[in-house]
Symmetry: D2
Subunit: 321 residues, 4 copies
Amino acid sequence: MNTPTNPSFDVAHLGHVEVYTDRFEESLDFFTRVYGLKISAQEGGSAYLRAWDDYEFHTLKLTEHHTTGVGHIGYRCASPEALERRVAAIEASDFEGLGWVEGDLGHGRAYRVADPFGHVFELYWESRRYEPDEDDRPALKNMASKFTAQGASPRRIDHLNLLAEDVAEFRRFMETCLGSRVTELIQLDSGRIGGCWFTVNNKSYDLACTEEHGKGQGRFHHVTYATDQREDILKAADIFLENGVHIETGPHKHAIQGTFFLYVWEPAGNRVELANAGARLITAPDWEPVVWTEAERKKGQAWGLKTIETFHTHGTPPVEE
Amino acid sequence: MNTPTNPSFDVAHLGHVEVYTDRFEESLDFFTRVYGLKISAQEGGSAYLRAWDDYEFHTLKLTEHHTTGVGHIGYRCASPEALERRVAAIEASDFEGLGWVEGDLGHGRAYRVADPFGHVFELYWESRRYEPDEDDRPALKNMASKFTAQGASPRRIDHLNLLAEDVAEFRRFMETCLGSRVTELIQLDSGRIGGCWFTVNNKSYDLACTEEHGKGQGRFHHVTYATDQREDILKAADIFLENGVHIETGPHKHAIQGTFFLYVWEPAGNRVELANAGARLITAPDWEPVVWTEAERKKGQAWGLKTIETFHTHGTPPVEE
Amino acid sequence: MNTPTNPSFDVAHLGHVEVYTDRFEESLDFFTRVYGLKISAQEGGSAYLRAWDDYEFHTLKLTEHHTTGVGHIGYRCASPEALERRVAAIEASDFEGLGWVEGDLGHGRAYRVADPFGHVFELYWESRRYEPDEDDRPALKNMASKFTAQGASPRRIDHLNLLAEDVAEFRRFMETCLGSRVTELIQLDSGRIGGCWFTVNNKSYDLACTEEHGKGQGRFHHVTYATDQREDILKAADIFLENGVHIETGPHKHAIQGTFFLYVWEPAGNRVELANAGARLITAPDWEPVVWTEAERKKGQAWGLKTIETFHTHGTPPVEE
Amino acid sequence: MNTPTNPSFDVAHLGHVEVYTDRFEESLDFFTRVYGLKISAQEGGSAYLRAWDDYEFHTLKLTEHHTTGVGHIGYRCASPEALERRVAAIEASDFEGLGWVEGDLGHGRAYRVADPFGHVFELYWESRRYEPDEDDRPALKNMASKFTAQGASPRRIDHLNLLAEDVAEFRRFMETCLGSRVTELIQLDSGRIGGCWFTVNNKSYDLACTEEHGKGQGRFHHVTYATDQREDILKAADIFLENGVHIETGPHKHAIQGTFFLYVWEPAGNRVELANAGARLITAPDWEPVVWTEAERKKGQAWGLKTIETFHTHGTPPVEE
């Protein structure tokens, strides 16, 4: 029964998320000046952004679009061979392999696959390491770039959250195509899975999927960057407040995964989180998914905060209710 | 040239450290009441201790002994097959395989191997998961046990530090026998390696080795547990102060690895650290070791603190200078 | 119009609050083991408690009673002469002077006065300074006692909150009898004052009064101790959670006064807060009260948390709705 | 013997410090971009600066000068009458009253007095409250201006430190002229006072004086702003590091006053501190000065850090040794 006991290790980590915006300039201002990411490049309607300690050229690709939501999700593989093994596994599966793409400013060729709900994933090996110029060189050489303390200034990309009509089916996709492990999940009384948290490495999750309650296809719930300390998130709440950013809920601590969180909406409406997991890691190779019942979820978040209604309804792009 | 590019993943994580003490009762009082670990069991001259979120039965085995220092170091493998692969690799090497032992209260059979400097490592798969009784059951089911906020109360084991006369040779041992990766190192002007930081997973290090300047064999520098926040370490400093614990140096931030740290000596003289790495992880599969020169190390720690003299000389067991 | 421009300085600080409980042993266990106050003495149905850096013998007098709520509130005057001046002012007023009482284990004779809503205040000069015995002596001599890090372990008493049917009249009482200044208030559209925050010194408030919506007389809203850091409150939330304490709301940041807060109910039902004001002080001698309109209050707390319904209804002792 | 038992309350708080610099542009860049103060105005060779929650027009007057050090120190009185009483007390004393000056952009007329070591103090009542324009208006109306999170971004002015050849005589000056109270002091074995900490209100100190070991006259040791949290100071250490600011010592916790601290030198050489006192206040009207012996001081700072040599020798302006 220990399906996820022996993860493949072929996928090393979440690489980047492409986020669509129909208010590009405002979104870019938010992500850089307020949220505190840095621009590596801007080209072809996209800005390539990264947190100060992200080692790759970009972890957020912000792309001008007619609406909001997620463009694609990139995971970096552990080696060229690992990438080949993953592609083989996908092609042997019943999921929709989309073939190779050339990559972009941030990485080389990548193999794309769509989940049954319309989200596009890509796997790649060849990555462009971020090389800071003189102005962005950090004082300590083990950091990826200078800590500029601009805005909320998170350290690195953490995870994203997608919406799917059938979370169990989404889980099968993640296990089959990415070799992800499930660390926690919500088991609804109906037998359905209400939410599922995945990881490919020691982070307790790099992707979550929660049930789509609207009529949307391939919708996006949020993307999250990690701060070094919880206090950074309290400070960020003041920064968001002073900058007129819509704070949706938090700061508080999730019951699931125990993450300290704060959710805001960037100007175009995409939900963005800051999170801090403390020293929590999943190191056990035989970690059993923690299963939360519907009754347990009714207790709210860790310290009793009730989950705000929009958290269940708001996704991007917006849909008619 | 990227030797450590493709780690084996066969070893999942640092499991436990056996620490010797010739003042058992005082050491045990320190580790439980002041440092804040919990006792899983006490048997045969040893106390089995763990931090509140360590998933295994124990991560520190405190053993009564005629002197101080380290007994053995345990790493858990990723699967039974992974363990076999490691044993095969060790037996094919020129390092000193010591054969199988039966394990103890915390885990099943383990294969032991000694490094050239007298430290004993063991690899195991069968682990005893800690099962909290009613009193120790956490409010949130994704935690390994109740958070009791006793003393410094770190979350989980983090790493240990050993002393060796020849760090380069120690590095060869770690790469060959454990499949560890090097994340950072100190390159001395003499061509020797002054210190080397290793990991088997996404933690930036789980073991460090620094050069032995005394006449010791198989000596121990320190063991470290991780706190969720840096503020926990500031609070712990007050707890140590009020309990008459010798604070050696800190709190401050290491230049190497960027860890926020505090070093104390437990009553028998073993050095013990509390550390917080913030959100730092090594996710890059092709991470290149960060190399620090002697000149760079002369700048002291991250914010300028000079490394205290005892940090270079004090190890356990003590040796004649 | 600047009535409070020139405060009398005759009253030095909030001294203590007497809290009634009809579940004495459980309340005492909460306040000591979980909340982290220390017992100075227990006598005559009362426990005398203080936080580790409170300089007086007690700041919380927990008294066995047939119900819950507040017994009396003590403020210490700045000198014997200041006390006499205050008594003279009270006796010259239309408020209900109750005459002198002998004091208790914690202080000498005190002059009592009742506000129009049934809360009893006392003013005193002669105070018993807490003298730690050997076991409780702090490592640093400028602290009032040892920092034991027991439970939430706040540093000192901060403020209390009372309920009154007519906050404007309560304000007249505080200005007349204690010489308190108003630092912030809520001006309802109806012309009534919804809440009012008072101080006698540089703290931004030591007492708040909010409108009683029930049929109660002399009711109590909460008592609060201050932590050194906001992180202490996040940690306390976990301690409360693990100890089955009812967390009512928080942690979050108040819009009014900007205090970071967490509210819980002790076992008998009295509301207890932990708060952190950061470095905020009112040093301006001509501070003008900050006036919040009803519309402004509808925005919720600083980062958007809506005020929980029980916050408006729950007081002690309980009343029929 | 309780001389300071009954402080006059005539002086409300430390108002501002004038700091001289011979590298004006660099100092101004440091204080605004890196340290995080805001400019209220620039005129006549001076920049008027304040922290985001300082209610007055300025708390730091940075003035172009041929050397470094302190220009003058301003304290605001509690009322016009209080100011008159202070002036009368000074004129009745043997200290050097310098008469009235007109004030500057930040306040009205002020009475000046020199201490015997050449530092100039001024007392004033009429103050210019800072009025934020639209861009600087805070989201919460009880804050003095917007929290912009620029650089270290402390909340308010905290204290300053002066050097004097005879600290006992300096103490007589502070008690006589300002009505300050002594909260802590260092009693040297020689009978001299090594250092003395003063306050006029509930802050545990607003001015410290330590013994001048050089040949200087009227020298300056440092000026300090308060942060809301200790974590802000850890974050500031990284900001200073990345901006090439000389970190002299810290972060650590003072034994005296228990303040968490970090000392840096601004580009012209003046020492600047960030400090956090947690929830510590002196509310006792009969607080007895805490007396530290020379032996006690030899233990170093609270957690054992030895006081760095430059801390005893470096003052501004520099003097020949």
